[in-house]
């Protein structure tokens, strides 16, 4: 390999056919005299622009639909040299860091290694990880790199961070999030999962249906079933958030509701039936009453609210239990309507903030699948700013990257990027501050299923492609198919 060109932080390296190099590989451009080396990553491989190649290809058969066949008598055996030159490649590489004295890393690319004297060699991922000190006391094995070495990251790199897992459908996003969840559980973390498709309920079971090590740490809460809330437990603000943001209660009606609520609280009559009665008898405009009634019935019909305190303690119990030895609270949002889903999430986030504020919880890792389906607009900023300070560390999982706001990408600390073929999707992801657009577009497009480009602090800003390791957990939430031999159940 020979150093050919450097423009900005892009280095072009000429590579010959006998040298293997693939997109995503790291190379070390060493200038022995300067006692420095550049760590560069291949982001694209092109044919070297060899003069005369076009002519060479044009005169090769087939020709004008006629058959031109022939024989070459090549006594000096020049042909292999022609092929060698023709097949030479140009590696487009991004400068990632500078190594000085073989040890210290700096992100600088302000120096220029010697073109004639520099030696270029592949930098094995384990060596890179060692140099970058991608290690720690809480290792998580994400999977294997292309060199079949293990990629081990530190769980603390997820602590206090905003993460995004994205990629097109069926590339392995949920699988990776399950891997991260189980790893966090292993280290005693509290995890809350907003499970849109009921995929995470089997985290406590092995693939063959047996209990695994996390069985007792997994708590599946299904709204209106084992996850309910009593009005008495609610703070007015939490309920107002539900009414205003999930049920879109207008301002005037909200003011009346506030009065009703205070009146009920003074009478210690915070029950659903009392609330219904109060709305019915309240002296107010008929339109306001109608508005309040429609929201009231939405709450009642959701089944999420109860007057029985005993039914409404499980969330807090689970969270407190998880605080001790780690645990995952899976909120199963599969079979509930959009409005109910929004009510549940409003309540849940309010509850988490309340518990974190009062230090009843230390911190929570929140995994949110397709959050745009239940998260209200104003929460996006809240999650990355205010809630993060309370200790809610969110991981967004989505196959529609444009549903996540640009400012979320800008503030994301870690991105786990699976394959995307749509340039618009990659354009969206490439807005992340911790990565350059060329790397995202070039590498992510060629990622095979279950391969993920890990970006951000977790890999010390050295993008690494990893094949996510298999996980022995029960697969749930599989897509129901028509063309299968599963018989239709007789429900009559």
């Amino acid at each position: 390999m020979r150093l050919y060109k450097k423009e900005g932080n892009i280095v072009q390296i000429l590579s010959f056919p006998n040298e293997t190099a693939e997109k995503g590989d790291y190379l070390l451009v060493e200038d022995a005299e300067a006692k420095k080396a550049l760590i560069v990553q291949i982001i694209d491989i092109q044919f070297a622009n060899i003069p005369g190649v076009l002519e060479e290809l044009l005169r090769s058969p087939p020709y004008r639909g006629e058959i031109v066949q022939g024989e070459d008598v090549d006594p000096l055996e020049i042909a292999p040299h022609i092929t060698y030159i023709q097949d030479s490649r140009l590696l487009i590489c991004k400068i990632r860091a500078t190594v000085e004295n073989g040890e210290s890393l700096s992100p600088s690319s302000s120096w220029l290694p010697s073109r004639s004297q520099s030696s270029i060699r592949r930098l094995p991922i384990p060596t890179l990880l060692k140099l970058a000190r991608v290690d720690g006391k809480l290792p998580i094995v994400l999977g294997t790199t292309k060199e079949t070495s293990l990629l081990t990251v530190d769980a603390s790199a997820l602590d206090g961070r905003l993460n995004i897992i994205t990629g097109k459908k069926e590339t392995g996003k949920s699988h990776l999030s399950k891997l991260l969840i189980t790893a966090l559980l292993h280290y005693g973390a509290t995890v809350v999962v907003l499970d849109l498709n009921g995929e995470y309920a089997g985290l406590g079971m092995t693939a063959d249906g047996k209990r695994n090590a996390y069985y007792h740490k997994i708590h599946v809460l299904t709204p209106a079933q084992n996850f309910k809330v009593a009005l008495k437990q609610l703070h007015l603000n939490e309920l107002m958030n539900i009414l205003i943001h999930a049920l879109h209660l207008p301002g005037t009606s909200a003011r009346e509701f506030r009065r009703i609520w205070q009146s009920l609280r003074e009478r210690n009559a915070l029950t659903l039936s009392e609330l219904g009665e109060a709305i019915r008898n309240w002296h107010c405009n008929q339109n306001v009453r109608d508005a309040l009634f429609s929201r009231y019935y939405a709450m009642v019909n959701s089944g999420f609210f109860t007057d029985n305190i005993a039914e409404a303690t499980l969330l807090e119990e689970c969270l407190l239990k998880a605080r001790e030895g780690g645990g995952a609270i899976i909120i199963d949002l599969k079979d509930i309507s959009t409005i109910d889903r929004q009510m549940v999430v409003e309540y849940l986030l309010g509850k988490l903030v309340e518990m974190l504020k009062s230090w009843r919880l230390k911190a929570v890792f929140l995994f949110a699948e397709e959050a745009h389906l239940y998260l209200r607009e104003t929460y996006w900023d809240d999650i990355v700013t205010r809630m993060r300070h309370y200790g809610i560390f969110t991981t967004f999982i989505t196959n529609q990257p444009d549903t996540i706001r640009e400012n979320i990408y800008r503030q994301a600390d870690n991105i786990f990027l699976f394959n995307f073929t749509n340039e618009h999707d990659l354009e969206t992801v490439s807005r992340a501050a911790r990565i350059d657009a060329e790397t995202v577009k070039s590498i992510a497009m060629d990622l095979p299923p279950h391969h993920c480009l890990v970006l951000g602090k977790i890999v010390k800003d050295f993008p690494i492609v990893v094949k996510v390791r298999a996980l022995d957990v029960k697969t749930m939430g599989e897509t129901r198919l028509f063309f299968t031999e599963t018989p239709i159940k007789n429900t009559s």
């Binding site: 060899i50 060479e56 030159i85």
Partner: protein
Amino acid sequence: MDLTLPQRFIELSIHSLKHVQNQTLQLNQQTIQQANNNISQEPPYAVINNINGFFKPITLKPKTEETITAAVDTSSIKLGETSTGIITAIRGTCIWKRGKSYTYLRIGPFIFHITEENQKEVYRALQAAYFQEQSESQAQPNIMQTPMRMANLLEKWLQQTLIRTVSGGLILFDGSLTAGTPDTPTSQLKEILKSARASGNTVLAFSKMTTLRLNGYLITDMLSTQKPPCIIAIPEIKPKPPTVLLGEVYVAKLTRGNCAFRLDIDKEVPKEKQIEAVERLIGNDLITQSYPETLRLAHILCTFTANEVIAMRHFIQHRYRIKIIERLDMHRLLFGPFGKGESHSEAL
């Protein structure tokens, strides 16, 4: 087609390169590719003047009876300079069309290191190997002319071999049928034409460029208003001694458009057979811009591409440990942005 390898070419190539080991090779600013029989090689003719007679164009009717059309072309290229000489590459191509298929045999490249010391030896050894009956008076080329002369020798050898292999066909040469020039001795060309006739072949030589003028006008402009395919015979061309013309000279316009070429056909072939040969050519070969495809392919296949030049330099660099260095461009060095480079300097 059975063509034995020009063994002597290989031996001389390897032998010459052995003496260049561990030297430095200076690259040219521009590689110079030389195709044989180009305009600079056209021998001086007596100017055809004061002919007032009417030249009647001969209209051609394509004859489709199956005839093999075959062509030969060679090229040479200078790869660079060593401290003692130049390194050059030579390659030749034979191509023939039978039915709808073209088949080619490409020989080379042969790479030679030519120095003042070995150039006579190399050239003479090749001459002796392929054309035993050489006149001693034939001028020796200088070092810069040697690659083209050697390519010419290879071309003559390929022509001879092709003529002996094909029978009843049309043999297309690139250039004219002029002999008595330093690179084409009369006896040599006569021998080739004789062999062609003996095998029932007709030799047709197409010149891509000509300086031949009639009453001050280029002969290739004579057919500009004629409907193709047609040819017109140019009589009474008297070359300046010692050059001799072994062909009947025609101007051929074989397809629509503005292209017409000088066409030399073996003089010893009867007139009607000459015309019939052109008719068989247009009935059997693809003709584009009045030029036969077989000959065009022969040229395309033997020409060196820039990629091949790099590959050959890579070969000599690795096999013979030659260090390649870029020659300083004195014009650029001395005059900076005002120096246009060596390639321009000569024209200025």
